[in-house]
Amino acid sequence: MTPTPDLTLCDIEPIRVPGAIQSHGRMLVLDGATLALRAWSANWAGEGLQAEAAARALAALDALDAQVLRATPADGSAVQVGSLRSGDRVQDCWAHRNATQLIVECEPQAGPRRHEAPIYTVARDFLPRLQAARTLQALAQLAACELQRLTGFGRSLVYRFDEDGHGEVLGEALEPGYDSYLGLHFPAADIPKQARALYLANRFRLIPDATYQPVPLLAAADGPAVHEIDLSQAFLRSVSPVHLEYMRNMGTLASLSVSIVVDGRLWGLASCHDHAPRLLDADMRAACTHLGQLLSMQVEALQANAEVAARLELRHWTLQLVSQLADSDASLRRILHEPALLLRMARATGAAVVLDEQVWTTGETPPQEALLELAGWIAGMGTEVYESAQIAAHYPPAAAWQPTAAGVLAISISQVHRHVLLWFRPEVVQTVTWAGDPRKPSSPTDAAGRIHPRRSFERWAEQIGGRCLPWSAAETAAVAELRQALIGIVLRRAEELAAMASELGRANKELEAFSYTVSHDLRAPMRHIAGYVDLVMDAEGAVLSERAHRYMHHVKDAAAFAGQLVDALLDFSRMGRTALNLKRVDTDSLVQGLVREITRHERKRQIEWHVEAGLPALTADPLLLQVAVRNLIGNAVKYSRDRSPAVVHVRAVRNAQGQGLEVQDNGVGFQMQYVGKLFNVFQRLHQSEEFEGTGIGLANVKRIVERHGGSVWARGEPGQGATFGFVLPGSGQNAQAIPSPAIPSGHA
C-alpha cells in the first residue's frame, strides 16, 4: 500500500518564512539595530519595476520618523509608527520586531473614521453578555454573533479542538446564502501542526482576498535571503497556497481567525468567512483581537469553575466512600458495600476490586479471569493511577469485552501485591459528522505534486467506536485521592493489626503462664490423693472392709482420671500454641507404624486392617500430624471393640481443598445429628463407662488440622460404624487458621 499523502504534509510548508506578502499592503524589512533597509515588498512600484520599488521603499523609510521606529518594543508587539502620504492616498504604518529585524507594514487607510473605535463596544456591550453565559455553547454562540456583527463577514464560527486536534463547531452566525457548519467536526489535518503553533504565537490573522497574488519580498544586495525573514507576526504574511485553495474550496474569499488560548494551549478558533473579499482596518483588527482575549479568559474561567465544581462533587463522594470504609474493618473489599457511590465517583458502570487472586465486582465488568489478568497487567506498569478510554488499543485482550468495558480507570494500591481497584465504562458508539470525509483527502496531489486540501465540504457521518467517554481530569484526580486515602486506611489498619498482634501475644503469654500454673498446681493434689490412698491401702488394707476398699479404689481412679484430664487439657492448649514445624510427611509409613503399635497393644483383639496403598505425602508438622492420625486410628479401634473382627479402613483423600486421610471403622458409630459436637472439647457421645477417654482426642485432631489450614469431617450411623477424615491444603497454602500470636490473615 502506498502511503496516502495527506494535508499533514503541510506540516513542512514554510509558513513562517514565505518570502512574500499579501497584496493589500506593502512591507519594509529593516535591520533591527541600524534600521537600514534590508528588504521590501515588490509592490512599492508596478510589476517589473524593481529598481523603482527599491527607490520608493527607501523613500518611504526616509519619510518615517527614525526615533519612533527605534522605539518599537522588543517583545514583538505591533505599534503604529506613522503614515505615508502619496497624493490623496494615505497609508498607515505599523512596526514590530522579530528576532533580528524591524518589520514595517503599510496598509491603505480605511474610509472615514468612525466616531468610536469598535473595541469600546466590545468592552461595553459584549463583555457583560459574555460574563452572563453559563455554558461553552452559549459563550461560543455569543462570540460568533459579536464577531459577525463587528466584521460583517457572512459566516462566523467558534470551534473547539479535542485532544486529537479535531475541531468541533460550537457556535455560528450566518448571513443568508452561507452553509451552516454548526455541529460539524473538522479533522485535525485541516489545520496543520505548525499552523497551530503559529496561531498560538499570533492570535489574529486576516486574509482579505484569497485570490490575491503573493507579492515577493526583494532583498537589498547585502540583505538577507527573503526566505529567512520571519513574518510570523506580520499581518501581511502571505499564507500557504494550500490554505488559499482550502478557502476557495469553501467558497470563501475573505477569512479571519482569532485564536482562543486557554491555559497556554490553543483551545479553539473563532473564524469568519465571506464569499467576497473583505478588508478590516486596524481598529477592527484590534477589536477582534480583544474579543478573542475576552473569549479566552471567559472560557478559561468557565472551565476552571466547572472543574472546581466537578472536583468538589467527586471529593464529596470520595470522602463518603472513605469514611464508611474507615468505620469498617478497612478491608478493600468493603468498598463494594456502597456500589452506587463507588460507581458514581468515577461515573462508571462497573467496578471491581482485585486482591491478589480474589475478585469482587459490581455493575458491568469483564469476567473474573479477565479482571485478574487486566489487574496484573495494570499493577505491572507500576503506575499509581491508570486510565484509558480505549483500553483495547493498549491491551489487546480487552477487545473481547469492549461493549461493556471499553475504558478503564484503575488505581494500584500496593507496589508489591496485585491490589487494584478498577472502574469500567461501556463503549460509546459516537456519530461524528465530519465536514467532508477525513479519510479521503480528495486528490491530495495534482500532476505537479502539489497538495490540495479537500474540495468537498459535504457532511460525512462516521461511527467512532472502541472507546468510552473520556475519563476527566477531575475523575482521575478523585480516584488518585481515593488511593491516597485507602493507603492511609490500610496503613492505619496495619498499625491496629500490629497492636492487636502484640495484645494477642501478651494474652498468649498470660495463657501460657496460666496453663503452666495449672499443669503444676493441679496435678500435685491429684498425685497427693492417689499417693495417700495408696499409702492407706498399703498400711491399713488388712483392716479395711471390702466396701472401704472399693471406695478407696474409686478415689484413686477419680484422682488418676483427673490427672489424665489435666494432662489432656494441657496437651490440647499446647497443640494450639507450639509453632508449626512443616515438613513433608509420608503418611504411608506413619500409618503403618501406628497400625503395628496398636496391634501390639491389642493382642487379644481381632482387628482386620485395610490400609490403602499409596497414602499421600503431606506438608505438615510431623509430631502434630502423628497425634492427629493416632487419635483417628485409636478411636476407630476403641469404638469397634465390640466387633469381632473389628474392621478398620485407612484411605487416601484427594480433593479440591488438598490431600488427607480417612479412617473408617465398623464400630458403634454415632447419630449424625450430633456430628457438630463431635470435635468439641470434652464432648462425648458415649457413656464414659462404655468407652474410656478424656473427650479431647477429636478436638485435638480438629485443632491440629485447622492449624494446618485444613478441614475435618465425620460420618456415622449408630451401630454402623463411623468414618473420620481430614485434608490439608497443598504446600504453600498452609494458613495459620488458629492464629495465636500471628497477625490474623486477611486483606486490609
Partner: protein, 152 residues
C-alpha cells in the same frame, strides 16, 4: 559413709511421698531436705545457716522445678555455674510437663527430668530407679567428694 541425697521440695505432701518412695527403694543414703532454692544453694555452697556443715557434695540433687524464692531452674543454673558443684548430678522432679521447662532444664545441663506420675506406685518406682542410678550405681565423676577423699 554414703553421700546424702539432697531433696529440694517445698510441698510437704510431695516431700513426704518422695521420702516414702526413697525409703521404699531401700537406698541407704541419708536424705537432706530443703524447702526452697535459696536454702538449697546455701546448703550446697556451705553458706549462711549451713556455713558450718561438713564438707562434701550430695550424691544427687532431686530438685523440684517450682520453688519459693529461687526456683529449680535457677538452682540448677547456679549449680552448673559453680565449679565445685558443677559435676553433681541433678534430677528435675516436677509436676510440669511443659516443654519449655524441659528444654530449659536440658540446656542448663540437667541429668534427668522426671514428671512425677499421679499413680503412687509409678512414682515409687521412678524414684527408686533414679536413686539407684544416681546415688548408688553411678560412678561419681572425678573431683567429687568420694574421689577427692581417696587422696586424703
Amino acid at each position: 559413709m554414703l553421700k546424702p541425697i539432697l531433696l529440694v521440695e517445698d510441698d510437704l505432701r510431695d516431700q513426704e511421698l518422695t521420702l516414702l518412695a526413697l525409703e521404699r527403694s531401700q537406698l541407704a543414703n541419708d536424705v537432706v531436705v530443703m524447702r526452697d532454692g535459696a536454702a538449697a544453694l546455701d546448703y550446697l555452697r556451705r553458706e549462711g545457716e549451713y556455713a558450718s556443715r561438713q564438707e562434701g557434695n550430695p550424691a544427687v540433687i532431686l530438685l523440684d522445678l517450682k520453688l519459693p524464692k529461687v526456683n529449680g531452674l535457677e538452682v540448677l543454673e547456679a549449680v552448673r555455674n559453680t565449679p565445685a558443684l558443677r559435676s553433681v548430678p541433678v534430677v528435675m522432679l516436677t509436676s510440669s510437663q511443659e516443654e519449655a521447662d524441659l528444654l530449659r532444664s536440658y540446656e542448663l545441663g540437667v541429668n534427668a527430668y522426671v514428671v512425677k506420675p499421679v499413680e503412687f506406685k509409678q512414682f515409687v518406682s521412678s524414684i527408686a530407679d533414679l536413686g539407684m542410678f544416681w546415688a548408688v550405681l553411678n560412678e561419681p565423676p572425678p573431683g567429687s567428694l568420694r574421689a577427692s577423699r581417696r587422696h586424703d
